[in-house]
């Protein structure tokens, strides 16, 4: 009897573990999605460069996060700020989830945060600089702010809600993208006499495939963050998160399309694609905490905000972000996190919870943003002063692929 009950518990635990690993597969596949979106929304002459960056941040991120990053995020809490470092991860036992299951799942999350930046800094950043950036981000920057919220740090103590990482993952990537894109400067020819020029991506079909893959991957990202699947409660929660995730994405796409239709007179594919991503990023924090109806509203708000954010950065702030990563991940990540304070079924503003949760959400958003912006600024400054951040005009003109990699992605003869 006791044995049988152990059996059942073991079975349940192994079931949880497998679900988290399958979810990790879906999230890992998002790397392909990001690669496609980024290469599709930029010019062919820089394609090998951007693909290489996407490949490398995942490869290097996997190694570095295993090497030490994971422990800084999830190791024993040191004064609420950081986890205790352990080299080469830990052991191979099982208590709750097998540690390697958690490592795998967290690795693909860390790599997601890292890969967001490559799109924003595309077409003008030195490969070496990006390579170093991706090590530093996965090794230190991401783990520390991640520790605050998910590793038992001070934000989690405060009651900050970021279920699957609108802030922990996406806006970390988004703020890093903001700093990086601002510091490397706009692409050659992007601003002529201060006026932005459109530089259309070379293949929207690759971009669209990328968005479909990302949408799919999000079904690992959000429901997987439940970190369990066994039993009634988990089953209900996972199903719930699937629905909120899907509806927010759908609403984001429809909202962005509608705004683009009114504003630019035609429904724009490139905007709609980003709208779906905006909805997905936005719902990530609250996917478990809000109702499907609220998910639709969050999707709509993020989808609308996205269009104006894209314009704001392009025309007012004049930061050149070829794929819109700052708006999609930074702005909508922050917005989505805040909206948890508004829409959460328990404690949300509209559900009678007052402003308390909203305030906590704001603290989480701002402190994470501050941490990332400051550390990224220091890091990119050091890179800039040493090996340099920006490619020369000549290299930008003829394409990074030939100069950096000696290879071009399309070879037709």
């Amino acid at each position: 009897m006791e044995e049988l009950s152990t059996n059942v518990n073991d079975l349940a635990a192994s079931f949880d573990s497998l679900w988290v690993l399958i979810a990790a597969c879906l999230v890992m596949f998002m790397q392909a999605g990001f690669a496609l979106v980024e290469v599709g929304f930029t010019r062919a002459k820089n394609g090998a460069n951007i693909l290489m960056k996407n490949l490398m941040d995942y490869a290097v991120g996997s190694l570095v996060f295993w090497f030490i990053g994971y422990s800084l995020m999830f190791g024993e809490d040191v004064s609420g700020f950081i986890g205790k470092a352990t080299l080469f991860f830990g052991d191979d036992t099982m208590d709750g989830l097998p540690p390697y299951t958690t490592l795998m799942f967290q690795t693909v999350f860390a790599a997601t945060a890292a890969t967001i930046v490559s799109g924003a800094m595309a077409e003008r950043t030195k490969f070496q600089a990006y390579f170093i950036y991706s090590i530093v981000l996965t090794l230190i920057i991401y783990p520390v702010s991640g520790h605050w919220t998910w590793g038992g740090g001070w934000l989690s103590e405060l009651g900050f809600i970021d279920f699957a990482g609108s802030t922990v993952v996406h806006s970390v990537g988004g703020w890093a993208a903001l700093v990086g894109a601002a510091m490397v400067g706009p692409r050659l020819g992007k601003y002529v006499n201060g006026k932005p020029k459109a530089i259309p991506g070379h293949s929207l079909v690759l971009g669209t495939l990328g968005v479909f893959i990302l949408w799919l991957g999000w079904f690992g990202f959000n429901p997987g963050s439940q970190l369990a699947a066994a039993g009634t409660d988990n089953a209900i929660a996972v199903a719930h998160i699937f629905i909120t995730t899907n509806l927010a994405a759908a609403a984001g796409a429809v909202a962005s399309m509608t705004v683009s239709w009114f504003r630019y007179k035609k429904p724009s594919l490139s905007v709609t694609l980003n709208g779906a991503l905006a909805g997905l990023v936005g719902i990530t924090a609250g996917c478990a905490a809000v109702s499907p109806g609220s998910a639709v509203l969050i999707g709509i708000i993020c989808g609308i905000a996205l269009v104006f954010s894209l314009e704001f950065f392009e025309k007012v702030v004049k930061i050149d972000d070829p794929v819109g990563a700052i708006s999609v991940h930074g702005i909508c990540g922050a917005l989505g996190t805040l909206l948890v304070g508004v829409f959460a079924t328990e404690g949300g503003l509209i559900n009678g919870g007052g402003f308390a949760q909203l305030g906590i959400q704001a603290i989480g958003v701002l402190s994470t943003a501050a941490w990332v912006i400051v550390t990224c600024f220091i890091m990119f400054k050091i890179i800039q002063l040493t090996i340099g951040l920006r490619e020369s005009d000549r290299v930008q003109e003829e394409g990074l692929d030939i100069y950096e990699h000696g290879e071009t992605i399309y070879n037709n003869m």
């Binding site: 929304f41 932005p196 314009e311």
Partner: protein
């Protein structure tokens, strides 16, 4: 012997080809070009509108004997015209020599 170069709308290619055929031009070479002319097209990207004066055209090039030039131009004007800005141009210049690679023939027989 003349060389005729016609820059036309991509969408008119098939009708032009048929019209030229009727005018005795069975051999031609063409490729896609972009042109800057009076026609502009509005496009948007990422919600950013941009006017482009760079539009897709097809350049048809054929070599023929002098007497075919006028009928060919007539056929071109009739078939490629929409009356709207952007219809394109036809240019004629002189050619000295033509050789058919397969047979090494020169002159008129080299043209077809």
């Amino acid at each position: 012997m003349k060389r005729v170069e016609a820059i036309i709308r991509k969408s008119k290619f098939n009708v032009v080809q048929d019209a030229l055929h009727d005018a005795g031009i069975d051999f031609l070479t063409y490729w896609e070009v972009r042109g800057q002319g009076k026609a502009v097209e509005e496009r948007s990207y990422h919600g950013m509108l941009y006017d482009t004066s760079i539009i897709e055209r097809i350049l048809i090039s054929f070599y023929c004997q002098d007497q075919f030039v006028d009928p060919a131009i007539k056929a071109l004007l009739a078939s490629a015209k929409t009356g709207e800005i952007g219809d394109g141009k036809v240019f004629v210049s002189d050619v000295e020599k033509a050789v058919k690679i397969r047979t090494s023939e020169e002159g008129a027989p080299a043209l077809n």
